[in-house]
């Protein structure tokens, strides 16, 4: 698996090692591909945010780069009509369930959604799909941070940080379908959960769902 190979991404020749995951190879070579749920080092990729589509020569449909191992001679395009269309729709879908209002969001200017919008020239407002505006409650029980599910994109970064880095296990995914949410066991407040307020989940959150409280 450690064979040196050459792949081409957007006409740029890249030396890399066979079997690596395409998304990380691209990012390491300063080629941006939108992504939210991908976690380097995770055995089975989530592949749930559906933003990291690329086209690979020889395949008739776009594929998610977070699930795609590289092979010698691979030719990748990160911007094609098909890719742009899927990314745009996925992005707009995520926004339709995301409470906007960037100006008052603690992650303003440091938000992955804003970055994707900028890189791909997408609008940061509700366009084709109306805002679902589901009712959710903010959990600001911890001393140092708060959790606002209305801004959560369900990427799972916080859960990975909680389980694999902090090794606490205070949060996980719960419920199904549209109700899918990040929650503590039995939906108790974070304060009443095993959460140690280590802050790793907050650092991992790419959007404004988990944010540190001011003056801490």
């Amino acid at each position: 698996m450690s064979r040196e190979i050459t792949i081409t991404i957007d006409d740029k020749k890249i030396r890399t090692v066979e079997g690596k995951i395409l998304l990380w190879v691209a990012l390491a070579n300063d080629i941006y591909i939108p992504h939210l749920c991908a976690i380097e080092g995770k055995d089975l990729p989530e592949a749930s945010c559906r933003l990291c589509f690329v086209e690979i020569e020889g395949k008739n449909k776009p594929v998610t780069s977070c699930t795609q191992p590289v092979y010698d001679g691979m030719v990748v395009r990160t911007r094609t009509a098909k890719v742009d269309r899927l990314v745009k729709t996925a992005f707009e879908l995520l926004l339709s369930d995301h409470r906007l209002g960037c100006a008052s969001c603690p992650k303003n200017r440091n938000c992955e959604l804003q970055r994707i919008a900028k890189e791909r020239k997408l609008k940061l407002r509700h366009t084709r799909f109306k805002y679902l505006g589901r009712e959710t409650a903010v959990d600001d029980s911890p001393d140092s941070f708060s959790f606002d599910p209305s801004r959560c994109v369900l990427c799972g970064q916080c859960i990975w940080a909680d389980h694999e880095k902090a090794k606490v296990g205070a949060i996980g995914f719960a419920r199904r379908g549209l109700g899918r949410t990040v929650a503590t066991f039995n939906y108790e407040s974070l304060k009443d959960s095993p959460c140690t307020e280590c802050g790793l989940c907050v650092e991992a959150c790419p959007v404004g769902a988990l944010s540190f409280k001011k003056n801490t």
């Binding site: 089975l44 749930s48 998610t64 269309r85 899927l86 729709t89 879908l93 339709s96 379908g177 899918r180």
Partner: protein, 635 residues
């Protein structure tokens, strides 16, 4: 172990079964179909009635429970075999008919032909299945014994060469078995049609000693009940198929993943597993061959997505039933990370017959690329509802109009919804498509697991698409963006259209979004969820446009843009039936005696239209929901 020794071992068991059967046939035998469908129609009461009558008249006759033969519209069904007569099948049996049959047939030798549906054996007096159009088109392989044997009696299966295929393969090399299945081109009947032999081979070749075989019985499509019926009617056939697969891939542990909503299927498989163990077809050193296999039942909790194999495995492992990206394929990393074969109930059911009769026999049925038969639940607006098994390549027209005899009440056929929520709606013009995996996919539908719903002129295609999207939206696991949010927005747009609130812009968004959800979703639930929308948009766009442009539902089905109206010129003034039938007291009598509906109170329950005497037929539905001008009527 040698083939001869295995055969000898098996022959002894079969001989015992045959002797038992012979004994049974010496006296009249009554078989009552008690699969879930029969029980729902009252089969258990029918069985009790037979027992009571037999006891009352002190007759020598036995009553047996059998499974479902697929003639749902005639349930409860009873078959009476009396020496000297062809076995006769009676439909819509009730207590009265039981009394009559016991008195006239069992006691007095008059078979009451006027109540019989069909005879099961050729004879000079009464027609058999092959004398009916349905019998001409049907070709039963996996349903051959369903409804004619007691599913809780292993000897009944043995009489029909049950477990002969297992005895045969145990003396062969596993690779030879895989070669037979590959050469038979058996394709997975769960929906996608992946070649079973290739799947088995991949699992066989995968590294590791520990392997698993799982039967996917998580049937969840609305309107589909093939797998349930087969498990309830002939569970041993599925067990034998699964055991052969386990031997071929090198697994010593198998599972049935049955949804908990199928309690009778669970019970009958449980009992069948027990009997198979007692006879030595399961357990350690099966038939002295040295092959070990245990099979257990895992009960699913009814999440539709758990029919997707990676979600199924995840739920068996005690995790949330969420699908994952593939590869790695389950044949290399499945249950507990070990190589796993997951096949549908029907796929396993074909295996014993293929082993006994050979790959060439199987390939002689059906089409070149989709050999064998297809099992469908033929439901909806069709006269002969039921479970049918026809050779692949039969056209939809033959299935719906010859086997099913078309829509009842002289209604006009409109569409056929095939493949459940993942499938599509095909119009009249597509009816000559042969039923096989590839042709259906090309038309925009899928074979699916075999649900087939016939729709007529009274069905609104937008509402039908909405119905299926409501199902998939609720059943989405929520993991990936396209399925979680995409299906929600598709549903919202469809709901708007059925309410007359759709716009041309939203129709455009609907089309784009449906295409993107199909291309962008993580698993097959999401990838196929837009099919009902895409096919109705393709074949029935005019109905969408009528809803949007004219706020008119052509089928008069969408309540929000339909109203009820009593035609003054038809109302008799002399009856009050509609007034009495209205649950909200919305109908009142005008000064001139004519009944009028208060639109503000009407809940569109359809009671008045149903109860208005047919000679008047004065209540009509109107769409768009605009009351006609009533200038002239107020005389």
């Amino acid at each position: 172990m040698t083939a001869a020794a295995l055969l000898e071992h098996y022959s002894k068991l079969k001989e015992e079964a045959l002797k038992k059967k012979e004994q049974e046939q010496k006296q009249p035998l009554i078989m009552v179909g008690t699969a879930s469908c029969g029980i729902a129609a009252g089969a258990l009461e029918v069985k009790e009635a037979f027992l009571k009558e037999i006891k009352k008249h002190k007759l020598q006759a036995s009553v047996q429970e059998v499974g479902c033969m697929g003639y749902c519209y005639a349930e409860p069904i009873a078959i009476i075999s009396k020496p000297g007569f062809p076995p006769l099948c009676y439909g819509n049996v009730d207590e009265g008919l039981v009394k009559l049959l016991v008195q006239s047939f069992l006691i007095e030798d008059d078979p009451c032909y006027e109540y019989a549906l069909v005879a099961l054996e050729p004879n000079d007096i009464f027609p058999t299945f092959s004398d009916f159009p349905r019998g001409v088109y049907e070709h039963k392989i996996i349903m051959e014994h369903c409804g004619f044997i007691d599913p809780e009696e292993i000897d009944h299966y043995l009489v029909h060469d049950g477990y002969a295929a297992l005895a045969k393969v145990l003396s062969q090399k596993p690779e030879e078995i895989i070669e037979i299945i590959k050469s038979a081109k058996l394709r997975g009947r769960g929906g996608a049609g992946f070649p079973a032999g290739i799947k088995w081979e991949a699992c066989r070749k995968a590294a590791g000693e520990e392997k698993y075989v799982i039967c996917n019985a998580d049937e969840g499509d609305p309107g589909a009940f093939m797998d349930r019926s087969i498990l309830e009617s002939n569970p041993h056939q599925v067990i034998e198929g699964l055991a052969i697969c386990a031997y071929a891939v090198g697994a010593s542990q198998g599972y049935f993943y049955i949804r908990a909503e199928y309690p009778l299927a669970v019970k009958r498989v449980q009992k069948a597993l027990q009997q198979a163990r007692e006879k030595g077809f399961l357990g350690k050193n099966i038939m002295g061959s040295g092959f070990n296999l245990e099979i257990e039942i895992f009960q699913g909790s009814g999440a539709f997505v758990c029919g997707e194999s990676s979600a199924l495995v995840s739920s068996m492992e005690g995790k949330m039933g969420l699908p994952r990206h593939r590869p790695p394929r389950l044949t290399s990393s499945g249950y507990r990370g070990k190589p796993t074969v997951i096949n549908n109930v029907k796929t396993f059911s074909y295996v014993p017959a293929i082993i006994r009769k050979g790959a060439d026999w199987f390939k002689s049925i059906g089409t070149e690329d989709s050999p064998g038969t297809a099992v469908f639940t033929l439901v909806g607006k069709v006269k002969n509802k039921g479970l049918v098994e026809v050779p692949m390549g039969t056209t939809l027209r033959q299935l719906i109009f010859d086997v099913g005899e078309g829509p009842p009440d002289d209604k006009q056929f409109k569409a056929v919804q095939i493949g459940g929520p993942s499938g599509g709606c095909l119009p009249e013009s597509a009816l000559d498509i042969p039923i096989d995996f590839d042709s259906l996919k090309e038309a925009g539908a899928i074979m699916g697991s075999g649900g087939l719903v016939v729709l007529d002129e009274d069905d609104c295609m937008v509402a039908i698409a909405r119905y299926f999207l409501e199902f998939t939206q609720q059943e989405s696991c929520g993991k990936c963006t396209f399925c979680r949010l995409g299906t929600k927005h598709i549903l919202d747009i469809l709901t708007d259209i059925t309410r007359g609130e759709g716009t041309m812009e939203s129709l455009q968004i609907l089309q784009e979004l449906a295409e993107d959800v199909k291309d962008g979703s993580l698993c097959n639930l999401g990838k196929t969820a837009p099919n009902p929308v895409l096919t109705t948009l393709k074949y029935f766009k005019d109905e969408y446009l009528a809803h949007i442009m004219e706020k008119r539902c052509p089928a008069l089905m969408c309540k929000e843009i339909t109203l009820y109206y009593i035609l003054p010129e038809k109302c008799t003034k002399l009856c009050n039936v509609c007034v009495g039938s209205c649950p909200t007291e919305a109908i009142f009598t005008r000064e001139d005696g004519i009944k009028v509906i208060d639109q503000g109170k009407c809940v569109k329950c359809d009671n008045c239209r149903k109860t208005c005497p047919p000679e008047h037929d004065a209540v009509v539905k109107l769409s768009p929901a605009i009351l006609p001008e009533e200038g002239g009527e107020k005389k």
